[in-house]
């Protein structure tokens, strides 16, 4: 056990010392800061807008529009329509003394048309303007037909749909968008981690083989011990990576108010940022299936490394394994769109796709406990079987040199090792 521990430690320390490890460790937090900063910046960009309203309508619609707009995040000033007003306002806009101006006339109530000119046309601004104009115009039209203004206001109360998800009998406050995003991010993380760390195992096996150091190792440890030491070492590196990501993400969320202040945004906006809530069971499912998927695929990658004698060969030989993993990656959209379909169910039972499919279905809330256990059990059996086969290929392969074995020879290795 002491010997296996030495292998685990070497694998861990040498990996953590590489530049790549720290590069990807930093990429995670940078991205999460990026997401938060992006959200805050959006609200900053949608800050107070100073606009003018050129009103040439006979009904004097400019005043109520200015009033309604000033109730939101606009400072709107009505100006009288006279020849040359558009030119002088345009000059103000290019001098940045004004964000833009709205031109309304009788067309607004008749055909519902108005014009907005500005130096920058933000989607949010346009939507806000349209919504406000809509309210004012609808009110004006109805009042024109003799409807009580109070009734009009009451009739215009917008509908707000509160979203609650029922997952395994419990009602949570998660929206459709959120659970979709969590499942999506999870699937991508799982795919990347399994692929990257699986390939790491492969190159590490290959390095020991090509430097022939494996001979000394195999004379002190059983090949199976060596392989398991490697898997455990590489696995703990990826766990460490996740830990760094999780911790830094937590830190960024805690500091989000300070970040908002530093960016000159309203701190209350940062406080209300929509943050996906990940319940503990989901986290456990994620970790369990990451571990399972990693073991399953890394064992295969180790065998690939053992049967190749240089990097080019290994790159070719790893393709079948990578394709197997790609199946679940390609299916992510199908999985998240309809997590209860027969397709999704099948993927969550097949051990080569379940490490990604099951956490996605679980997060989407469409999986019963029984199904989860079945999926996990099948995965466990597959890990044992695949590791058994892989360790036999590994055992023969690491001492071989020369051309890569064909399928028939591989079968013989498995039988006779």
């Amino acid at each position: 056990m002491h010997k296996v521990w030495a292998v685990v430690r070497r694998e861990f320390v040498e990996r953590v010392r590489t530049k790549w490890f720290w590069f990807s460790a930093i990429i995670g937090p940078v991205l999460s800061i990026g997401v938060i900063v992006f959200q805050i910046m959006q609200t900053v960009g949608g800050g107070v807008r100073h606009i003018a309203i050129v009103d040439s309508s006979t009904s004097g619609l400019g005043a109520p529009v200015a009033e309604a707009l000033s109730a939101t995040r606009f400072v709107a000033t009505p100006v009288a329509a006279h020849p040359g007003v558009v030119d002088s306002l345009t000059r103000l806009v290019s001098d940045k003394q004004l964000d833009g101006f709205l031109i309304i006339d009788n067309d607004l109530t008749e055909t519902g048309r108005a014009e907005y000119r500005a130096s920058s046309l933000g989607l949010q601004t346009i939507e806000d303007l349209q919504r406000t104009l809509n309210r004012v115009v609808v009110k004006a039209r109805l009042e024109g037909k003799g409807v009580n203004p109070a009734v009009v206001d009451w009739a215009q109360i917008r509908i707000q749909l509160d979203q609650k998800k029922i997952a395994r009998g419990q009602t949570t406050a998660e929206s459709a968008g959120q659970s979709f995003a969590v499942a999506w991010v999870m699937a991508i993380l799982l795919f990347m981690a399994i692929l990257i760390y699986g390939v790491n195992v492969m190159t590490s096996v290959l390095e020991e083989k090509t430097t022939r150091i494996v001979e000394v190792l195999v004379s002190s440890l059983r090949p199976f011990q060596l392989m398991m030491g490697k898997l455990m070492g590489a696995g703990s590196v990826s766990f460490f990576q996740f830990l760094i990501w999780a911790a830094s993400f937590q830190l960024v969320i805690r500091l989000r108010i300070q970040i908002a202040k530093a960016l000159g945004a309203d701190p209350s906006i940062a406080r209300n940022l929509q943050l996906p809530h990940i319940p503990t069971p989901t986290l456990l499912v994620f970790l369990a299936f990451f571990l399972g998927g990693f073991l399953l695929y890394s064992a295969m990658f180790a065998a690939v490394g053992a049967m190749s004698s240089n990097e080019q060969e290994a790159r070719q030989a790893q393709l079948p394994v990578t394709y197997l993993l790609m199946i679940s990656y390609i299916s992510i959209i199908g999985l998240t769109n309809n997590p209860s379909s027969a397709f999704a169910r099948t993927l969550s039972l097949v051990p080569f796709t379940s490490p990604i499919a099951t956490p996605v279905r679980w997060t989407a809330g469409s999986m019963a406990i029984g199904e989860l256990i079945t999926s996990l059990a099948i995965l466990a059996v597959a890990i044992v079987a695949v590791t058994w086969v892989a360790s036999r290929i590994y055992r023969v392969g690491i001492l071989m040199t020369g051309k890569r074995p064909n399928l028939k020879e591989l079968m013989r290795w498995v039988r006779t090792a």
Binding site: H2, R212, I213, V216, S219, S220, G402, K403
Partner: protein, 323 residues
């Protein structure tokens, strides 16, 4: 006397050929034992089976009078494989510690010993550098340290002199001799007879996986020697070629031109040849009764074609195992 290595009728087959064929040998404690043979004779395969890298198809291997091969006793054995290599991207000190730990040495001991050896072989300043930064000669030294760092009782060296520069060759020879002086056992393989002749207490010659002879150097020379005469000419060779061709006098000859090594025929008298040479007008600078060189015995035993390796093409390509 205890026997650190006993190989008993061990056979190993690889796809289509038998690398080691019912080979038995035993190495007693405190000696330098040479395993000799041409390339492809099965030396490396034998050592790998002793080290538990390969499992024999049949036969048994006992180390230190206990059942079990090298893996069980890895803390007591130092093994230098034929093809050398260290992790190129690791620091020298870390590699040494790791390899010792893999043999079951505690981390602290490994570290202390590694530093000691690095100092001894002049690599102290390089301990925190990557292996790939070292010159080839320094890498050889580092590899050698990794073999002996844990102060093993038994050292197994596979073609230890191949690829070594003269300085490291000398370091290796000195260490091997020092090991014997301290009562430790050295088992090494080589196809270079000069090394064997200088170092070995006992030896075993194998070819095509089979043992041809074993014993002490003197025993081997006695059994396989016959009477040998070395003749060197100084100018005229007289009628030497005709005399050497006489089967009543000379059984076999290795002719080097100005010098020849003769093996006398049964019942022949060396003095008779000397007389015949002088009478024929040959001028001699040397006429010496000698025991045969190990090289001569080796070539006689394995034959010139085996001395240039028995290669089974497919198998040799698939596994460079059978050295």
């Amino acid at each position: 006397m205890s026997e650190p290595v006993v190989v008993d009728r061990v056979t190993k087959r690889f796809a289509g050929h038998t690398a080691v064929d019912a080979l038995s040998l035993s190495v007693s404690s405190g000696i330098i034992y040479g395993l000799l043979g041409p390339n492809g004779a099965g030396k490396t395969t034998t050592l790998r089976m002793i080290m538990d890298i390969y499992e024999p198809d049949s036969g048994t291997i006992r180390l230190f009078d206990q059942v079990g091969g090298g893996r069980t006793h890895s803390a007591r054995i130092g093994y230098l494989p034929e093809e050398r290599g260290l992790y190129p991207k690791m620091r020298v000190l870390d590699v040494l510690i790791f390899l010792a730990e893999a043999k079951g040495v505690s981390r602290r001991d490994a570290r202390a010993k590694a530093l000691e050896w690095l100092e001894k072989l002049g690599l102290s300043d390089w301990r925190m550098r990557k292996v790939s930064d070292l010159s080839k000669g320094m890498q050889q030294k580092a590899q050698f340290i990794s073999t002996v760092l844990h102060d093993p009782e038994l050292v197994i060296l596979d073609e230890p002199f191949s690829g070594l520069d003269p300085v490291n060759s000398q370091v290796l020879r000195d260490t091997v001799l020092e090991y014997r002086r301290r009562g430790k056992t050295v088992l090494f393989s080589t196809h270079i007879m000069e090394h064997a002749e200088k170092l070995c207490d006992r030896l075993c010659i194998i070819a095509r996986g089979k043992k041809l002879i074993d014993g002490t150097l003197a025993e081997v020379k006695r059994t396989h020697g016959g009477k040998h005469v070395i003749v060197a000419f100084d100018g005229s060779q007289g009628d030497a070629r005709r005399i050497f061709a006489d089967p009543r006098l000379v059984a076999r000859i290795q002719d080097f031109g100005q010098e020849a090594e003769l093996e006398l025929a049964n019942g022949a008298d060396a003095q008779e040849i000397l007389r015949a040479l002088v009478n024929s007008g040959a001028r001699l600078s040397r006429f010496e009764l000698a025991s045969p060189s190990l090289h001569k015995i080796f070539v006689d035993l394995v034959g010139p074609e085996a001395a240039t390796a028995a290669v089974i093409p497919e198998a040799a390509e698939r596994m460079r195992a059978g050295a």
